[in-house]
């Protein structure tokens, strides 16, 4: 049994943890700052994002109704859960109703047969809401196998831990610990080579994706106007769980809405930059309708959100869960998510500054003590992409606003401090008494330390733990102040200079042409770009160099007779054994190096996901400037994904590793045949 302060001490004394946390903070903050340089108007963007979220929370009922209606129209089964227990019941009911047919359907791409007696397998993508309702624990009790597929989540699941960071679940671990874990649990030789560790997880988890009965994910944003759910990931697991298994369950906090696709593109310009320092994540999926032979359930969770919305902590619902406030927070930097505990010792579902507001906000009094662990330094507000006034909200939690109007207050405060501050307030409202007490304190502190201006207080006083306390001045300012007259001879005539103007936001404009910019961006992300007037020929040459003779091809993408002449075998159905998938790209985005792939004939979503190499053909005239220009193309697609570079992770020691669950290589052939 540990108190919060004991946990803090443990974290600080854990040297391995401290190194991991310093790495996390430094790299993430640097990455974030760099990513924001490419949008000089970010201050204006975050104000817009704030206004959008404010408006959504204000009119949440209307937006929810619109979102739900649109989803039902799109063939998604929508459920609403008022609390954790209800959400778990809904999920268990979906599992119970799982038709046997689903299990059969799946074998199309599954290499392994399972007996019908084997437990249900759920392949789960990262979801903080599922942590909030402690879903894994509830499912495991029912003998259901839930496998976390985000690398970081997988690691913490194998260690029977909870994520220590909302974006980087294994932020508290170093590679040696992961090496030992994989050696013990996966039976691979001990190694600290991060690509080897990643490859081991890829192999195990690929099996999970292919055999899972259910894919489970969270949701980053819901779009009210179109019913779109947006899920962003880097590793590709989010795409796997929403694309491969016959049933997809998405669990979503009911506040995570934006009115329309334009607003979504604004959020997507802020969220990855804030979270991981990326202009866009490797995958930004937009799901409208279920895929062929797929059932999709969407569960909208309240779990205290309605109460929060009607409380002074309402603004915390604007949060888009980027984790930037954790990275910037000096408290988190000492603690990691595991030390944020309630008075019952349970780990708070959300750590960091936002967690110290929403954990008590959603789950009550148990977590109010967390809000006292802050110097209100404001670093969190400074990095928040939706400009949530977190220091203000922390003081509101302290005032007791999360559970009741501010009566009494001082939540989580030690009683000695509370009494001291209340006593001081009495003095501060009685100036004469106040001045007298200053004299008294001056005498007292002089007697305590007659020889030094500093008093060495014992550690238990708190202050004395690491610093000395100053003696009260023998003569206070007020005693000494005599109104002086200005002596002309002493006057200094200052040079008057106007205060420097703050830098005005520069216009963002694309330098060079769009093809060049696209190429530069994608190449920087380890993607390959070839500009050609004859893509089929170039792709055949590429396949020949790699000695690849079979591809998964989206129909109407390449000149198929040329392929046949070159003895390249192609199929329009997905096959786990094929190394190369070739798809058309609906458009490209110059400022991020992204391509848009949508669901359609020949399963391009599979072709761009399962093979190790993804080849896309992009018409040069289809390269657009940036995300907002492309949103209109997504509306009528059942599902689409913006792909920005190969699958990637930084879940082990923040080290970038390419090729996790999705393709390790991405080659874009820009078809320039229509231009002069």
């Amino acid at each position: 049994m540990h108190t919060f302060r004991q946990r803090i001490r443990q974290s600080i004394e854990n040297k391995t943890l401290q190194i991991a946390l310093d790495n996390n903070a430094e790299r993430r903050l640097k990455g974030r700052a760099l990513a924001f340089e490419s949008i000089p108007d970010w201050r204006e963007r975050r104000q817009r994002a704030h206004t959008i979220r404010d408006n959504v929370i204000e009119q949440l009922d209307e937006y929810l109704a619109q979102f739900i209606a649109k989803n039902e129209e799109n063939g998604v089964i929508v459920h609403r859960a008022k609390d954790a227990a209800e959400a778990i019941q809904i999920i268990l009911q979906i599992l119970k109703d799982l038709p046997q047919a689903h299990k059969e359907n799946q074998k199309e791409i599954s290499a392994h047969q399972r007996s019908s007696a084997s437990p249900i397998i759920i392949a789960k993508s990262k979801s903080m809401v599922s942590e909030e309702i402690e879903l894994n624990h509830a499912l495991e009790k029912e003998n259901i196998r839930v496998i976390e597929t985000d690398l970081g989540e997988y690691i913490v699941q194998l260690r029977h831990e909870r994520p220590s960071h909302i974006i980087t679940p294994a932020a508290h671990l170093r590679k040696e610990q992961v090496g030992e874990l994989f050696h013990e649990k996966l039976g691979i030789p001990y190694t600290t080579d991060i690509p080897t560790l990643t490859a081991a997880a890829r192999k195990v988890l690929r099996e999970v994706f292919l055999t899972a009965d259910i894919g489970f994910s969270g949701v980053n944003f819901g779009v009210a106007e179109t019913g779109t759910t947006c899920i962003i990931t880097n590793e590709g697991n989010g795409r796997m769980v929403t694309t491969i298994p016959p049933v997809h369950i998405a669990l979503m906090g009911m506040e995570r809405l934006v009115p329309n696709l334009n607003d979504l593109s604004l959020m997507l310009s802020l969220l990855p930059r804030s979270a991981t320092g990326q202009k866009l994540t490797a995958y930004a999926q937009l799901l409208n309708k279920p895929l062929a032979n797929q059932t999709r359930h969407l569960i909208l969770l309240d779990n205290g959100r309605t109460r929060l919305r009607n409380s002074p902590l309402k603004e915390s619902l604007y949060c888009i869960r980027c984790g930037a406030c954790l990275n910037a927070c000096p408290v988190f930097r000492e603690l990691s998510g595991h030390a944020y505990i309630g008075s019952d010792q349970s780990i708070a579902p959300y750590p960091g500054p936002i967690g110290s507001v929403i954990s008590p906000g959603l789950l009550g009094e148990n977590y109010v003590q967390l809000a006292q662990a802050s110097s209100l330094c404001g670093a969190c507000k400074d990095v928040c992409p939706v400009d949530i006034d977190l220091p203000k909200l922390l003081t509101r939690v302290r005032a007791g606003s999360s559970t009741q109007p501010a009566v009494g207050g001082g939540k989580g405060l030690s009683s000695s401090t509370k009494i001291g501050l209340q006593l001081y307030a009495r003095l501060a409202t009685h100036p004469k008494l106040y001045a007298a007490s200053q004299k008294f304190a001056a005498l007292g502190t002089y007697l305590l330390s007659p020889r030094s201006k500093w008093i060495r207080l014992p550690a238990f006083t708190g202050w004395g733990y690491s610093k000395d306390f100053p003696r009260f001045a023998g003569k206070t300012f007020r005693e000494d102040f005599i109104k002086k007259n200005i002596v002309e001879s002493e006057r200094f005539t200052p040079k008057i200079r106007p205060a420097a103007e703050s830098a005005t936001a520069e216009e963002i404009e694309l330098k060079g042409n769009k093809i060049e910019q696209f190429t530069k961006e994608l190449t920087a992300l380890s993607g390959h770009v070839t500009i050609t007037k004859n893509p089929t020929q170039k792709i055949i040459e590429f396949l020949n160099t790699r000695r690849i003779s079979k591809i998964h091809l989206e129909p109407n993408t390449l000149n198929e007779s040329l392929l046949q002449e070159a003895s390249i075998e192609f199929t329009h159905t997905s096959d786990d054994q094929i190394l190369v998938g070739v798809t058309n790209a609906i458009c490209g985005l110059a400022d991020t190096g992204s391509i848009l792939i949508a669901d359609g004939e020949g399963r391009p979503l599979h072709a761009s996901l399962l093979p190790e190499i993804h080849i896309a053909i992009l018409k040069s005239s289809d390269i657009l400037s940036s995300l907002p220009n492309a949103m209109g193309l997504v509306k009528d697609k059942s599902a689409a994904v913006f792909i920005t570079g190969p699958s990637r992770t930084a879940d082990i020691e923040m080290t970038l590793t390419i090729g996790v669950h999705g393709p390790k290589e991405i080659h874009v052939f820009v078809d320039d045949s229509n231009s002069g």
Binding site: I8, I12, P330, E334, A371, Q372, A373, S374, S375, L376, C377, G378, A379, K381, K392, T395, R398, A399, G400, A406, G409, G410, K411, L413, S414, T417, K418, L421, Y424, A425, A428, T429, A441, W454, A459, G462, W463, Y465, S466, K467, D468, F469, P470, F472, K475, T476, F477, D480, F481, K483, K484, I486, R491, F492, P494, K495, I496, R497, A499, A500
Partner: protein
């Protein structure tokens, strides 16, 4: 003759009266008359931050009443207290139609000391001299609370004889955080350690701050660690001629 009201802040009043004297001296040199309302005590931030809003409100009401009896801009050598007047009073009196107006009137008159010199008076050179290295720690509430950063830096840049060196990770909190340094001394100690080691990296013997809170905290830490560096309020640098 322009006259301003000095809000000395409780920490400077009780522990660092020299800071207040330096502020008065500089303002007088610039031809600004300084008045001091003797009934002023504290802005109520310790109570506000702790969540003791009833107590904070009592102090805030007292402070508002004291300054309502005076005229002119209010100048305070603390970004933190300026932040309290400007933002937290509005929070404290939200929903109270009379008091919110009185609080806003107070906030509209209030300037942090360097902000007053640079933004209100347009002065970035007060004719100060200082021999040797100086490094600047931007106090959290000065930097992020009221967005005052270029003002103290501009004033320091014009101090004759001084060489300014950048403090690594200057924007990080020193770990004071008011009562947090008492309630969570372990956290506070770690940040203080980091602040002091960053200070040592600059080789500067002097750290300049805009807030008595940071001053008391960092100086207390330096004294405990028996370090030679000193922490000084910017007013005491600028008053040095």
């Amino acid at each position: 003759m322009t006259q301003v009201q000095l809000f000395i802040t409780c920490l400077a009043d009780s522990f660092f009266p020299k800071t207040g004297q330096a502020v008065v001296e500089i303002l007088l040199r610039l031809g600004i008359d300084v008045d001091f309302a003797r009934e002023q005590t504290c802005c109520g931030q310790p109570q506000f931050n702790a969540g003791l809003r009833k107590d904070a409100r009592a102090i805030a009401e007292h402070t508002i009443k004291v300054f309502e009896k005076t005229t002119g801009d209010i100048v305070t050598p603390s970004g933190s207290c300026a932040h309290m007047f400007r933002h937290n009073y509005a929070e404290l009196f939200e929903g109270d139609p009379t008091w919110i107006l009185r609080a806003k009137a107070l906030a509209a008159r209030t300037y942090e000391f360097t902000e007053y010199l640079v933004d209100k008076l347009g002065v970035t050179d007060v004719g100060a001299h200082w021999d040797g290295l100086l490094t600047y720690h931007p106090s959290c509430h000065t930097l992020r609370g009221i967005n005052v950063d270029k003002q103290p830096r501009a004033l320091l840049a014009n101090v004759r004889g001084a060489t300014l060196v950048e403090l690594p990770h200057a924007e990080e909190c020193c770990g004071f955080g008011g009562i947090m340094s008492v309630e969570h001394p372990e956290l506070s100690a770690e940040w203080l350690k980091r602040k002091i080691s960053n200070l040592e990296m600059t080789q500067s013997p002097t750290l300049v701050v805009t807030d008595a809170g940071c001053l008391m905290h960092i100086a207390g830490g330096l004294n405990r660690q028996k370090k030679k560096q000193r922490v000084i309020h910017i007013a005491e640098v600028l008053s040095n001629i």
